[in-house]
Amino acid sequence: MESDHNKKFDQQVRKKFEGFSVEAPSSLWAGIEKELEPGKANVRKISVLKRYPYISVAAALLIIGFVIWKAMPEEKVFLQGQKPADESAFIQAPEVKQPIDDAINPMRIESKNKVVAEASLKPASAALVKSDDEEHSLASSGRVTEQNTEGLSLSEPHLLVSASIDNDEALLSKDADAASFLVTTTDTGNDLTDSIDHKQDLVEAEPEARQKIVSGILNFVAANIQIGDDRRVQFSENEHGIIKIGLKR
């Protein structure tokens, strides 16, 4: 129970402040007026909109991550346990993506390779030929390559492409190494079938791991993006390998 002395003391203090007033600075009204301006509400809306760039950055990162994720399997399957890839290996990469039926039949691969080689080699050879040898034009380079690939086996386009790009022996030997590796991987028979099966297993086994890597990278970037009110963008992946975006306090 409150003592009478305490009550009396509180009463005296309350009485002291009755009618007490202190002049507020005249500049204070200007600040209030500024806050009340209709434009201020717009500014607040804009400040809310300022959050969108962060979300759009996060969305852009998500898209980039998705693209990387989609791009990764081809390289991983192709380079698994093999030598590092060089230009020839990248050019040749689409060849390994052939269905099993195509891979088993070397003739069919060869026919498709010609199309792939024509399409993919033209820009690369054009750029490099231009720098190495001014006499060769884009069209002639493409044509030569096309002509040469017609009568060659699966491994030969790599050597041919390298030769047309640069005559340097060292580079040629590197390309030859890569080409020989490609020959090994695209060999017909049981080895090829086993190899492709193994690659398919890898493709099936890796998405979750890839998701974790991608979401980890995105979370690292998102950790530095503060949305406001201590909220942060967070990426997470579910058991189906789908990356979710959310806000975390």
Binding site: V13, F17, E33
Partner: protein
């Protein structure tokens, strides 16, 4: 220059000022501000530890007043309504600066003053200074209980503390204030003699 809307004979009545404030009329808003700013500044100064902090409270309080003017029921006192908003704003801003985790609960009786304490001779400005110099927790609870008339239950709920903690803060605040008042009176008497 704007005059007090509460003054008799003022051309602009409270109703017309309220109507103007509802339609976001800047003149009416300024009239309302000029009418209550001095009294509300005194309220804010009790909760703040500096004039700067009090001005911030006053500004935020008036912005709330103007943004919520539609909610004012014309039946009650406008000054009372503005004051409630101001007190709530001051409490809200004060509690952000206080860590109530470290509050130790003591029995109020152990801190109760045994003698009657007179402060009639004390200047209100000196008393205000003493209140401002209290620890933030003491100051907030003392203002809420002794001056605004909140119960310990209401304070406990508003500040998310126990009722005993509220009582403890209040008792310590009173003790500190009375010590300061005694000290000041002793100094004054010493100068006189």
């Amino acid at each position: 220059m704007y005059s007090d809307i509460n003054r008799p004979g003022n051309k602009m009545s409270i109703e017309s000022v309220l109507e103007g404030c509802r339609s976001n009329d800047r003149k009416a808003q300024e009239m309302l501000y000029r009418s209550f700013s001095s009294k509300m500044m005194a309220v804010c100064l009790r909760y703040a530890n500096s004039r700067f902090e009090a001005e911030d409270m006053l500004q935020q309080g008036f912005i709330k007043v103007f943004r919520n003017i539609e909610q004012f029921a014309a039946k009650g006192s406008l000054e009372g309504w503005v004051r409630r908003i101001m007190v709530n704003t001051a409490i809200e801003l004060s509690r952000k600066n206080i860590n109530f985790q470290d509050i130790d609960e003591v029995k109020e009786s152990s801190l109760s003053v045994s003698q009657l304490f007179e402060i009639d001779g004390l200047e209100v400005k000196d008393l205000l200074k003493m209140i401002q110099e209290l620890a933030p927790g003491y100051r907030l609870v003392f203002n809420m209980y002794a001056i605004e008339g909140f119960s310990h239950k209401e304070i406990a709920r508003a500040l998310n503390i126990s009722e005993n903690a509220s009582k403890s803060q209040l008792s310590r605040a009173r003790m500190r204030l009375q010590e300061r008042i005694k000290l000041m009176e002793g100094e004054v008497n010493g100068i006189r003699s």
